[in-house]
């Protein structure tokens, strides 16, 4: 057993009325990758905020022992001074500044009154090379992709002389290729003696990189699993710890659903980028969905899936240059507005709940009714009792966990926010639902419930298009799967014939592979 670099002892953190952390213990050995897993709201981020000094010493109980001494961090600067650097889930880069400026923001080289730009860019280039980036540090951050931005964040952490690197959901906005590269980079750092803590929902990643796994549930440590121990680590094993029970089937079965007529059909759909019209984002796509059918669209991030969905939804994205949309066999020309799409009974449930989906400063009630206010108002006057009743109905139907529908959506966990978003669109009474990454960033238990809702929708005769970059989910939930790559549909197969292998093969075969 190696040297213990960090030990968090009996950490308890209380917010007014809520005990977020209850006697949490965490031991991290020097030179290991330690995974922290748990459902949303279990307390992982709170624990890391305690460690990095965002919640200063004195606002929690318990001890942090780092490198043999008890630490009392008052703010982030203190913890960074010791070499503890946290990389948050949301990227914290200024898009309009160069990579080098970003890396040394708040930590400028030279003097306060005169920044030494030569040193800044030379050092920045050095760290960029370490994370495998070939870009010059003078390039603006907005000009590189999300994957590379994540690497810049890591380079920034290295520039702070990190000894203990904490990565909070580092791959949540990366595609599979970039994720893999990032994880490999982590393994490389480990060889050089760096200690890392990774928080993630993706259990395959946990299994891939980590030496030890600590499971947190409801603010308490449940167990620490040694990955090199005698017990073989399976995803089910980890899930059991996270949810406190064995989930025998992660995907509920859908039975006895009769698949009917073609409900919506898109043919030769071509969309160009809104700002760079010469760039084709959706290229000659044709697809259809039947009543009672769940159609999966599998593709990596950047394949054009969201763009396809949004362009169908009243041309909310891009410039449509060609294609025919048929609903119920009749050709329709939607005006350039979501209003028209909703009128034609199409709903688009966005992948970006916080940005495009919900009004966080408003209540569950207000969010639920927003897309269909007309149905509960007469002459534009809202019937508030009816509105309350509707919100309650969907809260109960979807099992949204909240004390009341007057609760602000911003205070809910990711899974419950997703349910509110679904409630909003179910209340809009669509026949065709396009669900874009409906289970992104939510925990296993909530995922299961979302799958059940999808099944219910199909049973009710709705047509469901589910966009996802999680292969197991697509395979288990769909009746039929379209595979999208590099802005084209590169294949279509029945779910019964699809396997992970032949889907990946199809993407690779389509030229510009994954």
């Amino acid at each position: 057993m190696g040297k213990i670099l960090l030990e968090m002892k009996n950490i308890t953190k209380t917010f007014p009325g809520v005990k977020a952390l209850d006697n949490v213990n965490l031991q991290v050995e020097e030179g290991e990758i330690h995974a922290l897993v748990g459902e949303n709201g279990a307390g992982k981020s709170t624990l890391m905020n305690v460690l990095s000094g965002i919640y200063p010493y004195g606002s929690y109980e318990g001890d942090i022992v780092y490198d043999g001494e008890v630490c009392k961090f008052g703010n982030i600067k203190d913890s960074e001074g010791k070499g503890i650097v946290i990389i948050h889930q949301e990227l914290a880069l200024v898009p309009e500044m160069s990579i080098g400026e970003n890396m040394y923001l708040g930590n400028e080289r030279g003097f306060k009154a005169k920044i030494d730009w030569n040193t800044t860019y030379m050092e920045a280039d050095k760290y960029l090379k370490m994370v495998g980036l070939t870009e010059s540090s003078k390039v603006l951050v907005k000009e590189i992709g999300t994957g590379k931005q994540q690497l810049v964040e890591i380079a920034k952490a290295l520039a702070k002389k990190a000894k203990l690197l904490i990565l909070d959901e580092p791959t949540s906005s990366l595609n599979e290729e970039d994720s893999k590269a990032l994880l490999d980079l982590m393994l490389g750092f480990k060889k050089q003696g760096m200690t890392m803590i990774i928080i993630t929902h993706k259990l395959n990643e946990v299994a891939y990189v980590s030496d030890k796994i600590t499971v947190i549930r409801d603010g308490s440590t449940i167990e620490t699993i040694d990955c090199h121990g005698p017990e073989k680590i399976s995803e089910d094993r980890i899930i059991k710890g996270m949810v406190g029970r064995e989930i025998t089937n992660r995907f509920p079965r859908r039975e006895g659903v009769e698949i009917g007529e073609i409900n919506m059909e898109v043919s030769n759909w071509t969309v160009h980028h809104p700002l760079y019209p010469e760039r084709i984002v959706v290229n000659d796509v044709s697809l259809n969905v039947r009543k009672g059918e769940v159609v999966g669209i599998y593709g990596l991030m950047g394949a054009g899936r969201t763009e396809l969905a949004m362009s169908i939804f009243g041309q909310s994205y891009g410039i449509l240059t060609g294609g025919i949309l048929k609903i119920d066999g009749k050709e329709v020309h939607l005006k350039k507005s979501p209003t028209d799409a909703i009128k034609h009974k199409i709903a688009y449930v966005t992948e970006d709940r916080k940005g495009n989906g919900l009004i966080l400063s408003q209540s569950i009630k207000v969010n639920t009714s927003l897309a269909n206010l007309n149905s509960i108002s007469t002459a534009t006057v809202i019937d508030k009792d009816k509105e309350y009743a509707v919100a309650m109905e969907y809260k109960n139907k979807l099992n949204t966990k909240t004390p009341s529908v007057e609760q602000l959506v911003g205070n809910l966990s990711g899974g419950n926010q997703q349910k509110v978003l679904l409630a909003k669109w179910m209340f809009a009474e669509p026949d065709i639902l396009i669900l874009d990454e409906p289970t992104r960033g939510i925990d296993v238990g909530a995922k299961y419930e979302i799958y059940c809702i999808i099944n219910d929708l199909a049973k009710a005769g709705k047509s469901v298009i589910m966009i996802s970059s999680e292969l197991p989910e697509v395979l288990a939930m769909s009746d039929r799967i379209y595979i999208m790559n590099a802005s084209r549909i590169v294949g279509e197969m029945k779910a019964s014939e699809a396997t992970q292998e032949n889907i990946m093969a199809m993407i690779l075969k389509s030229g510009r592979g994954a």
């Binding site: 009325g17 809520v18 940005g355 009792d385």
Partner: protein, 391 residues
């Protein structure tokens, strides 16, 4: 897991501005030896601040859409007032002048709203341009001079001159204005009844009944209405300007709380993209906010020139800031999506009381501005800090 003490704390935060307002009133009552509560001063508080209530109601809608403000309202007040003044001095009837003033205000609002909503000119810049332009045009219309208004119908209807009060139809020859008393008491009764009936119907549908705080607020509000009624009745009765203020506040409170378009102001300010993807025409929402602001600036212009019995090129200066400050003091969020007419009323009254109190005490206008600034900062500070504690 919510504790009882917490809900009391939350209630205190919710009613923080009311508590501060009461504190300020008590402070000035002591300082002015009770003069601020004289019937005449209550009357003046309402008459002098009519424009603030009207403009703040419109400004709230702009602010709701995302912290956007309209800097041009002061100049638009002056411009519409100037047009009306000149028209009436040339013999136009009050009715036509009023109609033209409102329409000109609306047209200006539509003009500015068009740039903001459909061309995406930042509201700050579009209305800054309007602020300069309409100040200049007011000067052009008035040719740099003051124009007196002596159309008695106009003055009586919109709170100018000595007779701008609702006459006492039920006079008994006594000191009290009986009509004012009757109207005030009837309104207080209607208010109390409709509120309690609302609670009842809520309970009948199985929803939460009235909380203690709500009941207490109702009692205080009704008492306040009765007291103001008595004060006004013992002076000259209902000032006509109060009718316009009450009408505007009632209508805009209803719009923001009960109608779909009202809901959209909040939705756009909360998350514009999500609102657009929910099938709401968000551009139209911006347009309506600014068009409406122009319309209300027209009404404020009417009240302003009536109160002064003249139109002058300097009128309306700084009015936009009074309206904006009332909204923010009243709890509107500088980021949009949060704010209520009831809060705006408190904000406007608070500013009015401070102005009036300092005038009675005899502090100079320069200090008054400094104090206003401090109050604005403190109000927003309390708002920000109390939100931080919650997080």
């Amino acid at each position: 897991m919510i504790m009882k003490s917490e809900s009391i704390g939350a209630a205190a935060k919710k009613y923080m501005m009311i508590i501060i307002l009461v504190g300020v009133v008590i402070f000035f009552s002591i300082l002015t030896k009770g003069k601020i509560l004289y019937a005449q001063n209550i009357n003046n508080l309402i008459s002098q601040n009519g424009y603030v209530f009207v403009l703040a109601a419109g400004m709230l809608l702009c602010i709701l859409t995302g912290g956007n403000i309209d800097l041009a309202v002061g100049s638009v007040v002056c411009f519409t007032g100037a047009i009306g003044g000149v028209m009436m001095s040339k013999g136009s009837s009050a009715g036509i002048a009023v109609l033209v003033m409102l329409l000109v205000g609306l047209a200006i609002g539509c003009f500015q709203g068009f740039w903001i909503a459909f061309i995406s000119v930042p509201p700050f810049i579009a209305t800054l341009a309007g602020m300069y332009a309409f100040r200049g045009l007011s000067n052009v219309v008035l040719q740099g001079f003051a124009v007196g208004i002596n159309n008695q119908t106009f003055l009586n209807l919109f709170g100018g001159g000595a007779d701008c009060y609702v006459p006492d139809f039920l006079s008994t020859g006594g000191k009290l204005n009986m009509f004012c008393l009757l109207v005030g008491l009837v309104l207080a009764l209607i208010f109390a009844l409709s509120t309690t009936l609302g609670w009842k119907s809520r309970q009948k549908k199985g929803l939460a009944g009235a909380s203690t705080a709500e009941k207490l607020t109702l009692v205080i509000l009704v008492a306040l209405m009765v007291w103001i009624t008595y004060e006004l009745a013992s002076y000259k009765g209902i000032p006509t300007v109060l009718i316009w203020i009450a009408l505007v506040l009632f209508v805009y409170n209803y719009i923001t709380q009960n109608t779909a378009i009202g809901r959209y102001f909040y939705a756009v300010g909360g998350n514009e993209k999500a609102t657009r993807l929910s099938g709401v025409n968000t551009k139209m929402v911006y347009f309506v906010a600014y068009a409406n602001m122009g319309f209300l600036a027209g009404l404020a212009g009417i009240l302003t020139v009536a109160r002064a019995s003249s139109a002058q090129p300097t009128y309306g200066q700084g009015y936009e800031m009074d309206a904006i400050a009332s909204c923010f003091i009243g709890g509107a969020s500088a980021y949009g999506g949060v704010g209520k007419i009831s809060g705006v009323i408190i904000g406007a009254v608070l500013m009015g009381v401070i102005n009036q109190g300092m005038s009675i005490v005899g502090w100079s206008a320069n200090y008054q501005k400094a104090v206003k600034g401090v109050v604005l900062l403190l109000a927003v500070l309390i708002d920000v800090v109390s939100k931080k504690e919650k997080a």
